[in-house]
């Protein structure tokens, strides 16, 4: 599903080169739930933005669902991002002047779906996260946990092949965080491929495996089978 091989990302100024990722390799298979951990500044978010086609990489190879993304122009990257990836952000990133349904609709608009199809998907996604009754509410009228559920519904609406979650519970209290994690686990049980960046070891252990990044490199890629939904994952 997601395969990075010897990938590097360099930020250059006139006087210095900084490697955010160096000789970075990872392979996430379909229907896997992978936690990416590491200290602050280790390159977790850079990995996520490259994985989400929001940023270009400097070297190496990257295939997303079998498509080599190297050298793609902005249009092609945007289309691929829209069709294959769903984002869940730490700060939810809902658009404040759109109501819940309109927020969920955003990626569907860019996909070019007709009105009926958009309505069907919005309803389905909101029902999935338990917020169908809040479709006309605005983000400011929702709790943090509810906002993150809306963000998840938005990520799910386009039926993406890959969910990228960046500290999805980072802005939530423990009660709400538990609910969001349970939702992610439920999605995974239903077959979603999830890559979750987190610095929280307690969340990381709930994934099937953990990839640890330090100084832009994967330092521990050992497969660590985890208990998922009460059953040991078969990898």
């Amino acid at each position: 599903m997601l395969k990075m091989t010897h990938l590097s990302k360099v930020y250059r100024t006139e006087v210095v080169e900084t490697y955010a990722l160096r000789d970075f390799s990872i392979h996430v298979r379909a229907a896997e739930f992978v936690a990416v951990t590491g200290p602050s500044g280790s390159g977790k978010t850079t990995f996520l933005t490259i994985a989400g086609l929001l940023e270009e990489f400097s070297g190496g190879a990257f295939e997303l669902d079998g498509v080599d993304v190297h050298g793609m122009n902005d249009n092609a990257r945007s289309r691929l991002r829209n069709e294959k990836i769903g984002f869940i952000f730490q700060a939810f990133n809902l658009i404040p002047d759109l109501n819940v349904a309109d927020n969920v609709e955003v990626p569907l608009r860019y996909r070019g779906f007709g009105a009926a199809e958009r309505r069907r998907r919005i309803t389905q996604s909101l029902e999935r996260v338990g917020l169908a009754a809040r479709a006309k509410h605005y983000p400011a009228e929702l709790s943090g946990g509810q906002q993150q559920r809306v963000a998840i519904a938005r990520a799910l609406a386009g039926s993406p092949r890959l969910l990228l979650a960046d500290e999805p519970t980072g802005n939530l209290d423990t009660q709400m965080a538990r609910g969001v994690m349970e939702l992610l686990e439920e999605l995974h049980r239903d077959g979603a491929t999830i890559v979750m960046v987190t610095h929280d070891p307690e969340l990381a252990v709930r994934a099937q495996r953990e990839v640890h990044i330090v100084d832009g490199q994967v330092v521990d890629l050992a497969i660590q089978p985890r208990l998922v939904g009460g059953q040991r994952a078969q990898l």
């Binding site: 929001l54 940023e55 249009n75 945007s78 829209n82 990133n93 860019y110």
Partner: protein, 437 residues
Amino acid sequence: MSGYYLALALRSLKRNVVLTTLMIAAIGVGIGASMTTLTVFRAMSADPIPQKSSQLFVPQIDNWGPIDHLGQSDDKLEDQIDYIDAMAFMNAHAAPHQAASYAVTFALTPADTQLKPFKAEGRATYTDFFSMFDVPFQYGGPWSAADDQGRVPVVVISHELNEKLFAGANSVGRTINLDNEDYRVIGVMRHWEPMPRFYDLTNDPFSKSAQVFLPFTRAIDRQMASWGNTNCSKRADSGWDGLLRSNCIWIQYWVELPDAAAADGYRRWLNNYALEQTRSGRFQWPAYTKLRDVRAWLRYQHVVSNEASILVLVSFSFLFVCLLNAMGLMLAKFMGRAADIGVRRALGANRREILMQCLIEAGVVGLAGGLLGLALTGLGLLGLRSLLSKEALELTHLDLPGVGIALVLAVSAAVIAGLYPTWRAAQVQPAWQLKAQ
């Protein structure tokens, strides 16, 4: 997607009311100022007879010599001609159609005794005047060339005068009394008010057309003095005949020439005529003539003053300054939404879609600014009432094309002003925005 972007633009306008108001005000004030001056300018510079303006010409001849000159024009030619030249031009029939004319005035005594006598403005001219200037008729028609030669007491009256004297009925065959002489009505015009009144610019070019038209020959016979300007470089002999023999200029003269070849031919004839005057000793200076069509004539006569043109330039410069302000405000607005733009990019919007969204928003701001600008233009034109004559003011209303120009100008200007902010918005790097959070 355009409908979606339009809906987003309307939401965005409501999101930050202060910024939105400032942007709309900046564009509205600029459009109001520029459209006010442009409306006046358009009215003053409009072609009063567009279908024939390139076929109607004023011949000018230097009958005063290079020393004497009224000083109103740069080329030392006068804008009227004397009776001697007018008659020579008419008798030569060098153009397919030609008409000398001059303004007259008389005491008009209505047949209806309920109406009091009043002063009526008229024009003495030839029959070709009506066909040359496409004068529309409601009843009857112009008098004939034979009537010109026969100095027949007939008149063509204006629609307005017919309303006043005959309650709008067909008055052909009725008589009106001008300076104690009866004239038979031979034609009633429809409303005809070319603005500017190009055929006689010697007085106010934005004043009304005459109410009564009568044969030039009849007016000369009746010794009707000119109601316009009469200027002489030498003292004329006394009396009516003295005026007719003098070099005093008081007659407007127009010819209709259907094409460039005819215009060249007439130009040659006019110059030969002037040469003949020099050879005969009437002129003691080289032949000097000009032939100008309607638009050239209006420019030559400075119907649109330089001040009006400068005012338009100044007001459009002001619009430019307003747009710079609007651009700064739009930049602030769009960059303030960088996080939203980053999210949209992350959710699949490409740069072109962000460009379209922002440009449509700029267009909506422009449209709102244009509507405000129209209201301000209305106020501006009201404010000009004290500066313009009543007739000119009638012209300076905001017509449908004017409204269209204002709205197109506002939307275009706002979109142009929004190009840079939009481009900046489209360059938002979603990764940076999302990392920053």
